[in-house]
């Protein structure tokens, strides 16, 4: 798995068969996160295999919510990992962030 554009931490290039994991940690808030992969619910732990052929893409949409008792510095930290060994940290999500970021995984090989 690679991140071809350093300015775009949400777009990845992967190989067919690669297993991708998305892990998140809720700090100062309840853990209220949903995820969807290609039209279907992505259950916890958020994990899937790249099954498409090049140059198709897998699409993931996430949503992070903050409960009303969250602390002033509440945030989510999260990262995307591959079973091939790569791990990429994603920008933290705070209450003022875009709370439903999208990830795309282009299958290139």
């Amino acid at each position: 798995m690679t991140q071809p554009d350093p300015l775009d931490p949400f777009h990845f290039e992967v190989s067919r068969g690669e297993e991708i994991s998305i892990t998140e940690t809720a700090i100062g808030t309840n853990d209220l996160v949903e995820a969807s992969l290609d039209g279907n619910t992505l259950e916890r732990p958020f994990k899937f295999s790249a099954t498409k052929t090049p140059p198709h893409r897998h699409v993931v949409a996430m949503q992070f919510d903050f409960d009303q008792d969250h602390t002033a510095n509440a945030k989510y930290t999260w990262k995307v990992s591959s079973d091939h060994g790569e791990t990429f940290a994603l920008p933290k999500v705070t209450p003022s962030s875009v709370l439903d970021p999208g990830l795309s995984f282009k299958v290139i090989a």
Binding site: P9, E34, T41, T71, A72, P91, S96
Partner: protein, 509 residues
């Protein structure tokens, strides 16, 4: 909270009505609202110290949705009369923050000018001050400094911080919290006031029954059962449409996908360069960046599809126009309705029984200090909220000369409160209710052998959107100082920023 409101208001200020849409004439609202949120997020990141390269990440986070909505705009039938079309589709609602009614935001009951006779139990006050990295929270109120901590906040320091997992795992230790107040003489560095000499009060609280925090696993279960499925429905509909489109484009027009990736990369680089060295955005920056994003979407995506330079097959067009967009519209409507349901659910959640024990030590420079022991109970008994406090206080060093024994006083409080429909609603969207309470307090001072009875009536009347007047009238048969009856009244003005924001946002739709 202040930061959230500021960011949200910034997003509102960046609405399509705020800036001319040169880059994307007649841009659909679902796109312009999302771009406004992106720019507000970028500004917040810059103000948080992120460099320009990192501050552009919200554009990347939102790009897949922006791309999808822009293609949907390009393939939308002319004069679409459908109930839900890309032109009528509204921005998705986040459920997140919802106003809560049991936060005791007025002064504590013993403070001058307070309109509250009975203290409410609960750890909300502590939780609102919980710290992410430090184990102690500090709050300055006039000439008083209060430090608050708990075993929980100390324990999480070595356990990875105040995470959702630790909040569940260390739930027992969340039941305890302690605080100490100091008289402030040094306003420049408030922590300089933390000395034994300046210590005025100290207290400990134990929550014996109940946990009303929306950070608890019980609230998460409620969320997962009733609200997560609605969010999931929207996300699944969205990715279903996205992947249907991307699969067709990958088969028929792979070069267009590569080109749109390049459009995004160029946009990110251009904006990151323009933000280098900046710590916040000016209005000009916001306008310029908004226009650049609109232009990239319009020229790089919309025009390609609209002019037919990129072919989106008819079956895909039909699927998006007649299936995905209406389903997204319906999912959004469900989320809008869910916001009200969530408010009701939280209301019920925060009315579960709660029993707290509280110890407070009062120091006094000239007389003997004393300690208070209180039990606080709070429960909803339809249609009223019932709050009962009972306790006693003891002198630390009784003075025989002042006829003081060990026991200083006994007291008991009872409050019955409720809500009623506002007879003067400002708009049909203003759901604020009139709140009222009747309370009574009986107190016996042992050294003087006096019994003091106080009755209080409190009414909070909404007079405008998110603005209300709290009024109270109290009667006492005598006071601690004077052996004569006293009748006094208080009134004030309360602004609720949470509601103000929610109303502003609703009214703009």
């Amino acid at each position: 909270m202040r930061r959230i409101i500021a960011a949200m208001l910034a997003a509102l200020a960046l609405s399509p009505f705020a800036y001319a849409q040169k880059g994307y004439p007649d841009v659909p609202q679902v796109i312009s609202a999302r771009v406004a949120l992106v720019v507000a997020d970028m500004d917040a990141r810059l103000q948080g110290g992120a460099p320009g390269n990192d501050a552009v990440s919200p554009i990347a986070a939102a790009w897949d949705q922006l791309f999808f909505y822009t293609v949907a705009d390009g393939i939308a039938p002319e004069q679409d009369k459908a109930e839900f079309s890309i032109r009528t589709l509204k921005a998705a609602q986040y459920l997140g923050e919802t106003a809560r009614t049991d936060k005791q935001i007025s002064a504590v009951s013993s403070a001058t000018g307070s309109t509250t006779l009975v203290e409410k139990p609960g750890l909300v006050t502590f939780l609102s001050y919980a710290v992410e990295h430090g184990a102690i929270a500090k709050a300055v109120n006039g000439t008083s400094l209060t430090l608050t901590t708990s075993p929980y906040s100390l324990l999480v320091l070595g356990e990875g911080g105040d995470t959702a997992q630790n909040f569940d795992k260390l739930a027992f230790w969340r039941r305890f919290n302690m605080s100490a107040s100091f008289n402030m003489t040094d306003q420049s560095n408030v922590l300089n006031n933390v000395t034994t000499k300046q210590l005025s009060d100290y207290s400990g609280k134990v929550s014996l029954i109940g946990d009303r925090s929306t950070r608890s696993s019980k609230f998460r279960d409620l969320w997962n059962k009733d609200f997560a499925p609605l969010i999931q429905r929207r996300l699944n509909t969205l990715t279903k449409g996205q992947v249907a489109l991307l699969d067709k484009l990958a088969e028929n027009s792979p070069a267009f996908l590569d080109t749109s990736d390049s459009v995004k990369s160029e946009l990110l680089k251009n904006i990151a360069d323009s933000l280098q060295g900046k710590t916040q955005m000016s209005d000009t920056d916001k306008s310029s960046i908004t226009d650049k994003i609109f232009a990239a979407l319009h020229d790089g995506v919309y025009q390609q599809v609209k002019t037919g330079a990129v072919d989106v097959p008819k079956d895909t067009r039909d699927f998006i126009n007649t299936n995905v967009i209406p389903a997204l519209g319906s999912a959004n409507e469900a989320l809008i309705a869910a916001r009200e349901n969530l408010k009701d659910a939280i209301d019920k959640f925060t009315k579960r029984p709660l029993l707290t024990f509280e110890y407070t030590g009062h120091r006094n420079a000239t007389q003997s200090g004393y300690a208070e022991f209180k039990l606080l109970y709070d429960q909803h008994v339809a249609p009223l909220d019932v709050v009962i406090n009972a306790g006693f206080s003891t002198y630390n060093t009784p003075s025989p000369a002042l006829h003081q024994g060990r026991i200083r006083e006994y007291h008991g409080n009872l409050e019955l409160g409720g809500k009623a429909t506002n007879p003067f609603p400002v708009t049909d969207r203003d759901l604020a209710k009139v709140t009222y309470s009747v309370s009574a307090q009986l107190e016996r001072f042992e050294e003087k052998g006096t019994n003091i009875a106080v009755a209080n009536f409190r009414l909070e009347l909404p007079i405008a959107a998110a603005v209300s007047i709290p009024l109270s009238v109290s009667y006492a048969n005598k006071t601690e100082l004077l052996n004569e009856k006293e009748i006094k009244g208080h009134f004030g003005l309360t602004f609720d920023l949470d509601k103000l924001y929610a109303l502003t946002r609703t009214l703009t739709k």
